[in-house]
Point group: D2
């Protein structure tokens, strides 16, 4: 019940190193056993900090007997292969988003997990573990604001790959809102339109910002401003408008300063300080599940099906962006393994 | 220079009575000379409070020699006739929005004012006098946030004629955002789309809330959530997103209370407390202009042309609501009298 | 009932010029008839802006038949003489604080007004007209927070005469809190202690900041941080702690900006923007009283007795500052003319 | 380096159970080995949840070979005995505040630790690990606000033992401010005065609220409102006023709701949600130190000396409360073991 989970980490970049630090220093019941990265030196560095072994073969790392669970934070196109290997080894696997960059790749993972017969895959949509989003969901589910009608979302980064393909703004960034909206509302998105203003000069040619308008099966409207070269800071906002009231994320701020003619609350310059607690809780939930802690608390974490839907919706939004018109979205049926 | 302006008031309902109270008790250089209302008793009541004469013929009131300027707060369909009468009398006239409910009616007013040869008409879009909107405009014009990209607007009332025609949500309520957006951005709106979620049950069949997506000539996007049966209170929000930062209306609040497990700021239940200072400033500006105060400060007030455009845009949005698709908007040329 | 009040203005410095601007441009029912200032050129300048006559003899201005009411904004030591002259002329007079710098001077005014037999004097403690303070008082009087226990006050200026006598921090600045606290609580202050930290270097030797601890007759504690060389901006805070909750002034802010890693609300650099509405309401109330507007609304304005008590309390606090120990305060009886 | 620390827990009440839950479920590198409580059933219950053994002899638990470190959350008067036992066993010990209720008891612990020759004792002043207080300290140390002049503190509980001895308000509650103020300012408190208003009726005879005025060696003033029967919620505020600006704790809030005419942020009803992250970080720091993690991050945690000073200051404040006058505080010299 209380045994320690030994994690194999694939990918030791910014996110992987953060996960290693959390697993070895801020999460109960876990240790990092082995680390692989395409950049061997990087793997060694992170391994040293977390007391793990660096390994040079990711598939051997996944298969290694000493490894209880797999955490994937490598580049997007490699996710599918490693997730499939973890399923083949029968090990719990937490994969950073996206589950796979293509719907077909996600489908192969659904098929493999279904064939295995038990859920092993978690997708790293960490916002589901953020205290603010959890309070939003609780307020909605408790009836605090009546039935939902509109969900307003804002997602801004100070800078993010100016000149990148415009579709990346959706698949890399807005995909967080696609996932968290359907989780929050408990229903599927059935239509998408993308409006774009004149792009920001700092975006280097990328269509940024973008305004996504989504409709759910029951008729709730979602609008998402995603603006990844907004300059001034990192910020995520979300307001859920119900029939009798609204509830929205507050901007968490530990202190407020008065200086030079103003009262100022600081904003972080990237997403990690904003979602620090979400990342910690995500890993703790995942480790608790892997060690079958006594019993694990119900987790809001994203399944492989959620990962599939996120990629599916992102592709539909890219199509809406490219065609200009509304795109109707018809998801395949949810496989039995993922029924609630 | 400092003489007193004697105002003839047409309409003594909620807005008219408020105007009479302000003119006689909170605005320098004005007195209410005569008051007309279709309901004679109501006219008498308001006249008594403000020391004015009640009159039974609105056109005689407008033409009366003792009257220097005309304030119209009667029902929407009557605006055109009274504005035309004021122009015919060569008197400054402040008309509550809409200038006229139809584009053709507004056109007749433009024609009459052009024939008269000097601007006499002001339209009561009071938000242009709100300290918050004025600060937004100053911040934009000073370059505080770079070039504008997106303007987010929210307009909520606790309740507003459940069951009214869905077009009224646009022509009565969202029309404020149509006017204030083009004033703020200093350019015209060229395209409109209206998205609607499942309507609120409290709206009694009216399509409410609505989400308007507007595009300006230079490519700025405007989104407006208008929700006039939102239940919880009256609230207007506006955030202008620029290339390097954003500026938004704060929710003005004189006090904050701590009671029963929460920290609460009160919201007003209608628009008048929220825009009290805007109404006062609007009237003071108008009176200053009418008495040629020494010299009058430049006023952000809406002209007859602005009133024409507001009605034009509202009609285009109604069409967008009815057709579902984007509607391209091509305004006629701005007549010479209204060039800046 | 609706006639215009002609005001004689004594003092055309910063405050006097502001009052002239408000009376001629933002207050109903008033005009500035004549203006006196020790600096003739200054009087002429302000007179020109407000359409008044400059006069070279203040006592003749007060006595002039054309003058209905007197507004005193000259230097503190001159207040007594002009107030007494206005009483002698039987004219309503609004005197900027202090009513007089000495208790004896205030007493002479009480005596003169009592001899005259009717209240003519208003003291310019404008905070009583601030929407925030009025909401605090309403919340207390409505029982929103139970019986009051503690009142926390903060009063900060960016800079204010570095090197001035330390007693001025009390008599010029904290005196506002002395007045507004007893008005808010509806009872008298009976004891004062003054604690001082190491002074701010920017204060140039003045004991600044200071921390006043006051006790009311019923046992409510008041603490006041007054810091007039605080550098960063002008700010007034007030929190009233009751048996079941608290209510405090919010920092009014029209907009909020996001730039450069922070969310910022601006602070004014002096008291006039912060209390703009309070000054306007104060003058309107005073003018309404002078013209016997139909009927004037009950005014929270400070009487000569309030002015006397403010000077009395300020002197007691200066004594507490100088002696270090608590000073018991025993006011004389309130004269009959000032009974509620 | 990465080995697991086995903790012996003394006391399984509210705080003890919370610590057990955190150690077994949210802290890296720890397990709860054994639990003692005067109430055996309570020990068994908590032991079961955290996978530990319940023990019936606290001194045997502390001495047990399997126990690496000791966490004391039993009743205040028992702290001294258990801390001394842990020192005797040469084991790191985290003791909830107070270190001991008397100065003499704290002295015996200092003597024992000095005799042992190495610091083993940490006192559970968790606020030093709160992100807000850490930001305050960083802002001060970075010179963001210039030299400190005044520190305003507010400490409110909804309810806390009405009728308890008035000294408990200081020794149980205000003691947190005594500790965190001297940690924040990095200097000692040398004088204390206590002012009390009329007590709240809900306090059942206890002198509550109280207003402590403290002075540091360098002349900074600290005021503390402590009000433990404030009714409406749990709230801790702290504003540090410097020569050029101020920085204060914000009220952390994950969401904001709009309902029924107001905008509301929730307040917790006790201290645990407010300081959840502080408790987690405190335990993680302590565990990291005990397992000599690689290397442990420098910890802001309170030492036995800090615990001694907190009790010393609390006693001086009780004396100030009882005598009414200012009490000069002269601490003994800091023993060599506790020099920075």
């Amino acid at each position: 019940m209380n045994r320690e989970v030994t994690v194999g980490l694939i990918g030791a970049g910014v996110m992987g190193a953060d996960h290693a630090r959390l697993l070895s220093g801020a999460v109960a019941g876990a240790r990092v056993g082995g680390i692989y990265d395409v950049d061997e030196a990087r793997a060694r560095r992170v391994a040293q900090d977390s007391g793990a072994r660096p390994l040079i073969d990711p598939l051997k790392l996944i298969a290694d007997e000493s490894i209880d669970a797999v955490l994937i934070a490598s580049s997007d196109p490699t996710h599918e292969e490693y997730v499939l290997a973890a399923i083949a080894a029968g090990k719990p696997v937490l994969c950073e988003k996206p589950l796979a960059p293509t719907v077909a790749g996600c489908q192969r993972i659904l098929d493999a997990e279904t064939a295995y017969g038990r859920r092993l895959v978690t997708v790293g949509f960490m916002r589901r573990h953020d205290p603010g989003y959890l309070e939003l969901k609780r307020a909605l589910d408790d009836g605090d604001i009546g039935a939902p009608l509109v969900l307003h979302c804002v997602h801004r980064n100070p800078t993010n790959n100016p000149g990148q393909p415009s579709s990346n703004v959706i698949t890399n960034s807005a995909v967080h809102e696609l996932d968290v909206s359907r989780w929050l509302l408990g229903e599927e998105i059935v239509e998408a339109t993308v409006h774009t203003p004149r792009p920001a000069r700092a975006a280097g040619g990328t269509a940024d910002p973008q305004l996504l308008i989504l409709r759910t099966a029951s008729g709730t409207l979602i609008d998402v401003e995603v603006f990844v070269n907004a300059g001034y800071g990192y910020e995520v906002r979300c307001e859920l408008v119900g029939e009798t009231g609204t509830v929205q994320l507050d901007t968490p701020s530990a202190t407020v300063a008065r200086r030079g003619g103003g009262t100022t609350r600081s904003l972080p310059m990237d997403w990690r300080p904003r979602f620090a607690e979400a990342y910690r809780a995500e890993l703790q939930h995942w480790v608790d599940g892997a060690r079958r802690a006594n019993p694990p608390a119900p987790s809001p974490a994203a399944t492989a099906w959620d990962g599939y839907v996120a990629t599916y919706l992102a592709q539909a939004c890219v199509q809406a962006f490219e065609t200009g018109g509304p795109v109707a979205i018809e998801l395949p049926n949810r496989p039995a393994l993922y029924q609630p």
